[in-house]
Symmetry: C2
Subunit: 359 residues, 2 copies
Amino acid sequence: MAADQLTIALDANGADAGPAEVARAAALAAAGGEVRVRVFGPVAEIGRPDAGRDSRTPRGAGSFAPGVELVDAPVSIAKAADPARAVRSTPASSIVQAVRAVADGRADALVSGGSTGAALAAGLFHVKRARGVHRPALAVLVPVPGRPFLLLDCGANVEVRPEHLVQFAHMGAAFMEAVIGLERPRVALLSNGTEANKGTEDVQAAHAALAGAAGLTFAGNVEGFAVGTGEADVIVTDGFTGNVFLKVMEGTADTLLRAVREAATSSARAKAGGLLLRPALAGLRDAIDPEAQGGAFLLGLRRLGVVPHGSFGPNGIARAIELAARGVRADVIGRTHDRLAAAGALRRPSEAVATVPDP
Amino acid sequence: MAADQLTIALDANGADAGPAEVARAAALAAAGGEVRVRVFGPVAEIGRPDAGRDSRTPRGAGSFAPGVELVDAPVSIAKAADPARAVRSTPASSIVQAVRAVADGRADALVSGGSTGAALAAGLFHVKRARGVHRPALAVLVPVPGRPFLLLDCGANVEVRPEHLVQFAHMGAAFMEAVIGLERPRVALLSNGTEANKGTEDVQAAHAALAGAAGLTFAGNVEGFAVGTGEADVIVTDGFTGNVFLKVMEGTADTLLRAVREAATSSARAKAGGLLLRPALAGLRDAIDPEAQGGAFLLGLRRLGVVPHGSFGPNGIARAIELAARGVRADVIGRTHDRLAAAGALRRPSEAVATVPDP
């Protein structure tokens, strides 16, 4: 193992594709030799040979592929109705084992196979908040062709205070600088109008706080239209609104692309057109492919976490592993802390720590 | 004037298309003889002949076209930063005159040329809330091909209480029954998950209240994905989230259709495909055309109001006039009251009336 080789802890449970495909993603990510992956999942299922694709033979815990170590952890809490309770009551679960590996320093970052709620709850319980951070947030890199932006919070905190939104702004900016390599990312606040007096009382207070924040390039309020305008690199909002934002976007894109496909089969003429257009539209489909973005980033804990979308296949999960490693190498946690400290936005030890949010 | 001929008050200021085009929309809507329109706007601008389209000659207040009466009201507050204050300080403005015509019974419903904020503020101030209604709401019929749904509130109230959301549910259901002719519309609550315990405390309380509400077909929580699934006919939410929902949808659709157009000009082969596919895609464009839906409906006042999108042309504004007339004929106001009364959801006179929301 090279001196600077990182280890990612990967929970193989929870993804729609199943544990074997998640393990395959680990093998893909580790193939380059820059990262090792410790996979926590059901060895019996992962080791089973998958006829028709490759010639893996059943094996127990241990080496699975070059750079991939398998730890038997068959218990899954990915579907638990109350993730926080499940985390406390099920220490043997794969997500708790993966998170504890990160908390104990046996791994540098976490990638979860698919359950955001369980990853967040386990992260809060075992890895804990980064020093000075009020609340962790889920951040999603939204794949708009040519101008992706980071949206946070996408669901970790359904209710937030203005000082949380200011911290989200710094967390998002640090991420875009460290992981995406963007200088002076433009941070905007989501509201129902561009004027400073739009939005709820909390949103108005957050606007004022962001406008006066040191070290931020604050672009003011943006509306939902900002999904396509490229006017901001980071958009901050509460986890309820961010979750709705993301799902409306996905639902609209799915509905429209389905309608375009239907239009392209509605007549012989349209079918001919659709065939000719298909290669160009495939480029568009690749450009907005959520798998290319790696999933949701869990920011604000002492270690970085990445939660791929539950629907991702091996390529998307491998991408999540790569982005987690890049975030560790670029020290996104340290940069976030430095930003918050420089801006005077660290939570003071005397301030009440909010109860663990319900993810 | 036929005994059952309705009169719509139309504010000609505020639309991007300009007052003359708004007046032309009135003429279009009135041409069928089923509705009269009283247009409040700048006569000097509206009466000016528009060379190249028709032979209107300049004239003063009075008849403009069959069924259209012109009232000179040149003052516009459509761009006022504080609509509520502008409404109080500018009684001569076209929107206040149009709204007062409705309040005094000289017209049966309001259609505004484009400023939602001014229409809402003037409506609250002069037409007033319907008896037993906590808060008026802006409702938008979202043009999903084959399965349109009504989304409310889209921006009248950035903060709401659970009992407001219950009233929105009845207001939306009454609208879909009366104006769209849908029986037993399925009403859903927007949240960040389908489970009853998802969302803010207020959203959870609203879920419980809706689940127990008499006379409602409650479909439970829906997520932002519901934009394309057809799982609900009415979706209720607070005005902040509804506004973000609508604008994310518009922004995503615009961005994607632009990307499809760009893909269709990216190569000679794609261009040929785009030309063949164009008629089929035009059908899709018509199906999702917001102008066909008439705009936003102002529900919960003593009279119905419709606010077309500021970008609408004469056809969209004419459609808004037709829908306002249809809503009056189908007694959407009376039906809403009956629903609220039957469900025991009327605001009691003893309950505090919230201050006028800032639109």
